[in-house]
């Protein structure tokens, strides 16, 4: 194996504020993490020369070498399972799963080893590894390329699960996930990869495991994460034209859930609509609904409503616009809530 060639581009003083896509923001964040810590590795299928099928790891192998950006054999259990060993050895691997529908061959390693080794050894083994998962639909893909499996992982103790929704978060959250001493599942909203936003690389980031109110409002609360945050914000903007004021919370962290801002919001608005692409049954949206009714029972003016993907396999892509929550379905749910 060749020694790592550290032939980094001398973009000595990058602008503090840049307009980046989510894809480029994650790429820039990965680069920053690799520069900051020589133990950070990127590993997965096609992440090297190709730069990943979504080009998220573009240019990293060229600059950090084949020993820090590993084009691996094609087997997800192998990617995750060897990352466990590398993490035990003191590395901080960042695994890329090419598409969320292919994470299941690695599921055994994730839930049996990644999630449990810290507990099993009472902290003697730490697994500071990140598993990056492009997820969700809306890109016209074939089967297994559009799913939302995040609830499986949020259900498993020992894992932390986050999802970014905008370039600034993407840039910071990937770095924070890599620095975290716990294994983190990092869900990336692939249909939003090429949406742009401002990233301030000098600003102090907020905490990784915290949700955030993105828009304040008085009539009802919308909660979303990942790709549905944009949908929720668009719905709130449309509702405003009809004279309705919606608050939007970006969940950001799916495990642990940070629902304090949601409770606070619901106590003011009295109404909650949870928006996810994932099917609703036994999911993160169910968990939010359960906890909000428990914590905000006397504040609720209407039952917690959910706008989600259906409890079906992800449909053929010609039907995905019907499957995925859109602005109209969200507003319809808001109407039902307000009419209660």
């Amino acid at each position: 194996m060749a020694a790592p060639t550290v032939d980094r581009p001398t973009s000595a003083a990058p602008a503090a504020k840049q307009t980046l896509t989510i894809a480029k923001a994650i790429n820039t964040g990965l680069r920053a993490a690799m520069e900051a810590d020589p133990k950070v590795l990127v590993m997965g299928e096609d992440v090297g020369k190709l730069g990943g099928v979504f080009r998220i790891t573009d240019g990293l192998q060229k600059d950090f070498g084949e020993q820090r950006v590993l084009d691996t054999p094609l087997a997800e259990s192998g990617i995750i399972g060897t990352a466990v060993g590398l993490a035990i050895r003191g590395y901080r691997p960042v695994c890329e799963i090419q598409f969320e529908g292919f994470i299941f061959p690695g599921f055994d390693q994730i839930v049996s080893q990644v999630a449990k080794l810290h507990f099993r050894t009472q902290g003697r083994i730490k697994l500071p590894m990140v598993i990056r998962v492009p997820f969700g639909g809306g890109i016209g893909a074939v089967e297994h390329h559009s799913e939302s499996p995040e609830s499986y992982f949020a259900h498993t103790a020992g894992l932390k699960v986050v999802s970014c929704s905008n370039p600034a978060d993407a840039y910071w959250m990937i770095q924070q996930a890599i620095r975290c001493d716990d294994p983190v599942l990092f869900f990336e909203p692939k249909r939003r990869y090429y949406e742009k936003g401002e990233v301030d690389t000098t600003a102090a980031p907020g905490p990784l495991f915290a949700s955030r109110v993105l828009r304040t409002g008085a009539d009802a609360t919308l909660v979303a994460y990942g790709p549905m945050v944009r949908t929720a914000l668009d719905a709130a903007a449309a509702a405003e034209e009809e004279g309705r004021s919606l608050e939007v919370v970006d969940l950001r962290t799916l495990s642990p859930l940070d629902l304090a801002p949601v409770y606070e919001s619901v106590r003011r608005t009295g109404r909650l609509v949870v928006v996810t692409e994932a099917p609703s049954e036994s999911s993160i949206s169910s968990e939010i609904a359960a906890k909000v009714q428990q914590e905000c029972f006397y504040s609720l003016e209407a039952p917690v409503l959910r706008v989600t993907g259906f409890d079906t396999p992800y449909p053929p892509s010609k039907l995905e616009e019907e499957f995925l929550p859109d602005l109209d379905r969200v507003l319809h749910a808001v109407d039902r809530s307000l009419a209660w």
Partner: protein, 397 residues
């Protein structure tokens, strides 16, 4: 070195590997054939205690060293029998016997150097012994007071892994790290050895481990203890090819060693680990042995295997052949054997006392070290439960 070309596809008269369960005669004949038909089987000490030479894997062994290996095997067998008895008395929820596999494990375990890393499955009590894990420490998992109590960093011995084959990939990654750290090919070289059974070779993770180790030239020795049975499934339910010959398909050497011969196991393991340290790994070792007891204390082997088979393997006992050889060589006298027995008894007593006195952990252990960093949701759940529990007289119990 093995010559896989010698193996040919079974002819039309051979029973297909996926046929219905073989007859008793087929099982016995098959075992004898694969055992003795192993021109490739590396053996240095016959079941009769005769020292034999091998052109590739010979070893110089002193009387002291051989007495040490004998002592290891007797003690480990005693640990195993004591734990088995503790389970029968209800002191352990489960035990996984190693009876019959002492030579494979002591040979491999004593070949490891302190800085090497070992990844066990869940039957590697002999390797644990070689890595300095106290016998009592193995019991906490089986007694249910812990999920594994030794420090894997200190002992360089990973926790037992129960999901079949998972540890093979973890070991491959660890060995890749050794390679990335530049720990091959010079004075401070390291290697990794991973233990798994014949049944595990059917798992995808083991196959993927072979692939990863090969393409990254990881310093990894795959140590497969073929004890002939994966619970009730015989080896022919896992493979129609002798297991060591699979290595060729991945591009590294595969060697079958007499797993009941501690000298052969030691010699081949030492050689393989050294190859890894030199940067020439990986290597697959198939230790051809036999599980003399049940798969676990929950198993009943009388339902699926024949007493004839057991009797056959008794003749190959790994400890007896060393004892015979020590006597023949006049390397040990009765006083030595008596002292080893006394040591074994003392060890068993200490282990028993340790076991029955293992404290039940406090309820807070349920919530302890699930995460390395804070998790407010779990912390709140813990606090609520502990407060609830404290509401009873006497508090936590």
């Amino acid at each position: 070195m093995s010559s896989p070309e010698k193996w040919t596809h079974p002819g039309p008269d051979s029973p297909p590997a996926t046929a219905a369960a073989p007859t008793a005669a087929q099982v016995i004949a098959g075992l004898r054939a694969t055992d003795e038909g192993g021109a490739d089987l590396v053996q240095l000490l016959t079941p009769e205690g005769e020292r034999v030479r091998h052109p590739d894997f010979d070893i110089d062994i002193t009387a002291d060293e051989l007495r040490g290996l004998y002592r290891d095997m007797v003690l480990v067998r005693r640990i195993d029998r004591e734990a088995n008895a503790l389970q029968r008395k209800g002191e352990l929820g489960l035990w996984v016997p190693l009876l019959g596999q002492e030579a494979a494990q002591i040979g491999a375990g004593r070949a490891l150097k302190p800085m090497d890393m070992a990844f066990p499955s869940y039957r590697e009590h002999g390797v644990a012994w070689c890595r300095g894990v106290q016998p009592g420490q193995i019991l906490s998992m089986f007694r249910g007071t812990d999920n594994g109590s030794w420090d894997p960093v200190e002992h360089r011995f990973h926790p037992y892994t129960i999901v079949i084959g998972n540890q093979v990939l973890n070991a491959a990654g660890y060995a890749m790290g050794q390679k990335f750290d530049g720990k091959v090919g010079d004075a401070d070289s390291e290697a990794t050895m991973v233990f798994f059974g014949d049944g595990a070779t059917s798992q995808g993770d083991v196959h993927e481990g072979f692939v990863w180790a090969a393409v990254y030239d990881a310093p990894l020795v795959f140590f497969c203890q073929n004890n002939q049975w994966a619970i009730s499934e015989p080896t022919e339910r896992q493979s129609r090819l002798p297991l060591y010959q699979r290595a060729r398909g991945y591009g590294f050497p595969g060697i079958r060693v007499d797993g009941n011969d501690v000298l052969a196991s030691l010699a081949v393991s030492r050689w393989a680990l050294e190859e890894c340290r030199q940067g020439n790994g990986p290597i697959l070792i198939e230790a051809f042995t036999y599980r003399m007891d049940a798969h676990t204390t929950s198993d009943d082997p009388s339902r699926y295997r024949l007493s004839d088979e057991l009797e056959l393997w008794k003749l190959k006992d790994p400890i007896e052949r060393v004892k015979v050889h020590l006597v023949k060589q006049q390397w040990a006298d009765q006083a030595f054997f008596d002292s080893v027995e006394a040591d074994a008894e003392e060890l068993a007593i200490g282990m028993r006392e340790y076991c029955v006195n293992l404290p039940t952990p406090p309820a807070s252990r349920i919530f302890s070290q699930v995460y390395a960093e804070a998790n407010p949701v779990l912390d709140a759940q813990r606090d609520e439960f502990l407060a609830y529990q404290a509401g009873f007289a006497g508090g936590e119990h």
